[in-house]
Every structure is written in C-alpha cells, then in structure tokens.
C-alpha cells in the first residue's frame, strides 16, 4: 500500500471529490417542477427509487419532498407515481 505524501514542488493532479453541485445549481435548468400532493402520496417510494438526480428526499413522516435547488424537472417521478400524487407545474 502506498504512502501518500504531499509533494514539495508545485503539484496539481486531476482529482475530484464527490460533492453536490458539480454542474452548479441545476434547479435553474427547470421549466416545469414536480409538486407532491401529500394527501395522495402513500409513501411507496417509487419516485424516490426512479429519480435520476437524488432530488426526491424521504421525509420523517414516510412521505417525500423535492430538493428544488437541484431538481432538473425531468418529470420521471410524476410518470412513475402510481397514485398520480406528483403534478408537473410550469415554473414561474
């Protein structure tokens, strides 16, 4: 196993660490936004499972909420919801 040491000379390597926002605040890309009707939501978590962005978050009450800072508004969640609890609403 290698020992990792800082270099004495100027050293830069093409390295990254996982972190949110590597393409900025992608919520600004959105033209339509998902709105969850919590009365219809049964907490089945299919939207959470299918969301490509990890922007559907589980709430303490066993339901979901949207991370609008990063949600790109693709609409996958609305389409997979068996209870039509997510509506895509035009931004603005």
């Amino acid at each position: 196993m290698a020992r990792i040491e800082p270099a004495e000379t100027l050293f830069l390597a093409p390295l990254s660490r996982p972190a949110p926002g590597s393409a900025g605040r992608t919520g600004t890309w959105r033209v339509v936004k998902p709105v969850v009707d919590l009365d219809k939501c049964t907490g089945c978590m299919l939207c959470w499972l299918y969301c490509p962005e990890n922007t559907i978050l589980k709430t303490g009450e066993g339901k979901v909420r949207i991370d609008y800072e990063y949600c790109k508004g693709c609409g996958v969640c609305a389409n997979v919801c068996p209870f039509h609890a997510i509506e895509m609403v035009v931004e603005g």
Partner: protein
C-alpha cells in the same frame, strides 16, 4: 553481489524483481518479448510476488499497469515500436494523472516495411508526453536505470512515470556481465512505494473528470516543473547508487573525453559506445572529440549540454530518428539549447531502421565536420545524412535500388 551473464532484457527482469513490483502486464512484441517471458517465469516460480496480466494488446498492457498503479501498487510494463505507438494514448493519460509507473522501451524501427531492428524513432515519439525518458548504453546500466526509475518516478518532487530505453537486439538480446545487486541493497535504496493519491473506496477520490481549463493549464505547468525537479533527483539518485554499488554514471549525461576536446559528439543509446571508439581513434590523428552521451532525453539536460559545449569549436549531433519535414529530434533540442553561442552545429541522421553504424562511420562524419569548421570558421547544418556506407561509396547505386523498389 553475483555477476551474471544477462541480456539487456533479462537485466530489466531482474531489476523489476529486485524492485518488488506487484503488478506486471505486457503484450508480446519483438524485441521486448523476453522481458515479459522472464518475468512470467519469475512469477510462476515464486521468485517475484506479483500478479501478471497477459493482456490482448499494448493499449491494454499500459492501461492495466496504470490501473494497478492508481490503486496503489508498484507496476511495470515493457514494449517496443508499434506496441509503443499503439499504447501512445495511454502514455499521455498515465503521465497527466501523475501516477508513478515504469516502462521499459526496447527501441525498434517503425514500419512499413516490417522491421524488427533498432532505431530510436519509437522512443523519440514519446518526448512530449510527460514521461521521464532515459536511454542506456549497456546492460549493467539497464539494470541500474530500471531500479532507479522506480525511485525517481516515486519521488514526491517528481511523481511522473519513467521510461527506461534500451536498444533492440544490441542490448536486449546480447548477453553481457551484469552485477546483480542483493535484495537488501535494493531495499535500502528503494523505499516502499510513494504516490500522490490512490483511487480506492477509502479515499473516495475521482481521477480525471473535467476540470476548468485554467486549472488544467496549471496542471501542465506543474508537470513541466516536476520535470525540472527531476533533473536534481536524477543526479541525487545517481550519486546515491554510486555510493552503494560503486556505479555512478554522471546523472543526466555522461561525458567521455570532453574536458580537453575541441569538438563534442552528442548521442544517446547503445551506439554511443561505437562513437567513443571513434573518438579514441581520431585522437591518434590529432582530432580532439569528446562524446556527450545523453542518459536522459526528458528532462532535457539543457544546462549540462550548455556547460559541456562551452568553449568548443563545434557540436555534432547524431540522431537515430528523424522528425519528417524537420530535423533529428536531438539536434532540434541541442540547437535550441546552444542558440546564440556561435558554436558550430551539425545534425547527422544515421543508423535508421537498424542500419549499423561502425566506429569508422562515426569517425568519417566527425572528421568531415571538424575539417569543415576549421576551414569555414562557422558551420550550421541542421540535417546531414549519413547514408549506409555502400550508398555513400557508390551513390549511383541509390538510383539502381530506387528503380527496383518503385
């Protein structure tokens, strides 16, 4: 320390064993093949505790050892000629990622036509990549350089991969006495592997996604700086190896009879030995040449060349490769190094495609250059051809051959 009769390729294999390499991968290509054959044997016999990956191409060979090195293991590959060209993309990728790695390049001409014999076209093609590039003159130096390569590449001031160049057949397949050091000595010289980062679940690091262009620029700058730092490291390592083994080569360059010379011949690789024989011969005629043998092509030993060239009447550069439409690659860099010095310069293209260059051929070129400088005072000839002797002696023969081969 046992002295063994080893080919250059076996000297590489023993050096790899002594350097405790953990992962080896290579693809067969003449004249490299006996390196990976020997390493396979060592690994299967348990003399070297390493994994060997018998890949389906050179592109994969370098990618495999690069992957291993990125994951934190000391790794090694070897290739030649078309194999080196085929892996060229990965050569760049490995250097840019700053992961220490060592590769032996057994130099060989590039086709067409198919040709397995020596020239330096393949290794010279790697000059811009960010690999440290060394060239050995003899089998002992092959072994010593290979062990040193791990130390240099893994030095935190450097963190660049390194090529050990050895000439096809002349070294690779020719047996010579080689002092093979004891494992304890190599362990003392070569510390456990160091590297700037490791890609693993523990580090959760990502190598190589898109970076801002200005930061990418700084990465290139930092590589160039590391090459400069490598010059010091190479000298240090050479001195330290000298203390341990009694073998010190002079670091970036080796100078043979330079001090009292009027002219310098700049050269690299195994044929330097023939150039030295020519120099001895010319001394008897009263023509005083020295040989400046470049042990490293990258980093370019500019300062050393400038110091050794100072006060000389002329510098004659022998290239075993050519940049088509340009000059010999060594000549271009020597010319840039000596710009403004008013030292006479000539670049000679010779020994391409395996054509043998004998001491008398070297002597002929050296004699001609010296007399021309003496006659004219200043000469600048960037590209002179030292054709195979039979065509020099009988130029009509060239037309004759061209008629057949057209």
């Amino acid at each position: 320390m046992p002295v063994m009769g080893l080919t250059g390729n076996y000297a590489v294999a023993h050096a790899v064993r002594l350097s405790r390499v953990e992962v080896v991968s290579a693809y067969p290509i003449t004249p490299q093949t006996t390196i990976v054959e020997k390493l396979s044997e060592m690994i299967e016999k348990g003399e070297l505790n390493a994994r060997i990956i018998r890949v389906e191409s050179e592109h994969s060979a370098l990618a495999a050892v690069y992957g291993a090195a990125s994951a934190g293991s000391r790794a090694f590959t070897a290739t030649s000629s078309h194999g080196l060209l085929y892996m060229h993309e990965v050569v760049w990728w490995a250097a840019g990622s700053r992961v220490p790695l060592v590769m032996a390049v057994v130099t060989r001409a590039i086709g067409p036509p198919w040709n397995i014999h020596v020239d330096h076209q393949d290794i010279m093609d790697q000059r811009d990549t960010g690999w440290i590039i060394s060239m050995a003159q003899e089998n002992q130096e092959v072994l010593d350089l290979t062990i040193q390569a791990f130390r240099i590449s893994e030095d935190p001031r450097v963190y660049l991969p390194m090529i050990v160049g050895l000439d096809g057949f002349i070294l690779s397949h020719t047996r010579a006495p080689v002092d093979v050091p004891e494992q304890e000595l190599v362990d003392e010289f070569l510390p456990p592997r160091r590297q700037p980062y490791v890609i693993s679940p523990e580090t959760n690091l990502v190598m190589g996604n898109i970076a801002p262009d200005d930061v990418h620029f700084l990465m290139r700058y930092s590589m160039a700086e590391a090459m400069e730092a490598a010059k010091r490291v190479i000298e240090e390592v050479d001195r330290e190896w000298g203390k341990l083994t009694g073998r010190s080569y002079g670091g970036l360059v080796e100078c043979y009879r330079c001090e009292d010379a009027d002219y310098l011949a700049v050269i690299t690789g195994s044929w330097s030995g023939d150039a030295k024989v020519a120099v001895d011969k010319l001394r008897e005629e009263g023509i005083r040449y020295g040989v400046l043998r470049l042990r490293f092509i990258r980093p370019w030993p500019a300062e050393k060349i400038a110091v050794h060239a100072e006060g000389k009447k002329g510098v004659l550069v022998f290239d075993r490769a050519i940049s088509m439409g340009g000059y010999g690659p060594l000549f271009s860099d020597v010319s840039a190094t000596l710009y403004g010095s008013r030292i006479s310069l000539e670049g000679v293209i010779a020994g391409l495609t395996g054509v043998d260059v004998k001491p008398r051929d070297f002597a002929e070129a050296m004699r001609r250059f010296a007399s021309e400088v003496d006659e004219k005072g200043f000469v600048y000839k960037p590209r002179e051809w030292l054709l195979p002797r039979k065509y020099r002696e009988n130029p009509e023969k060239i037309r004759e051959v061209a008629r057949i081969w057209s």
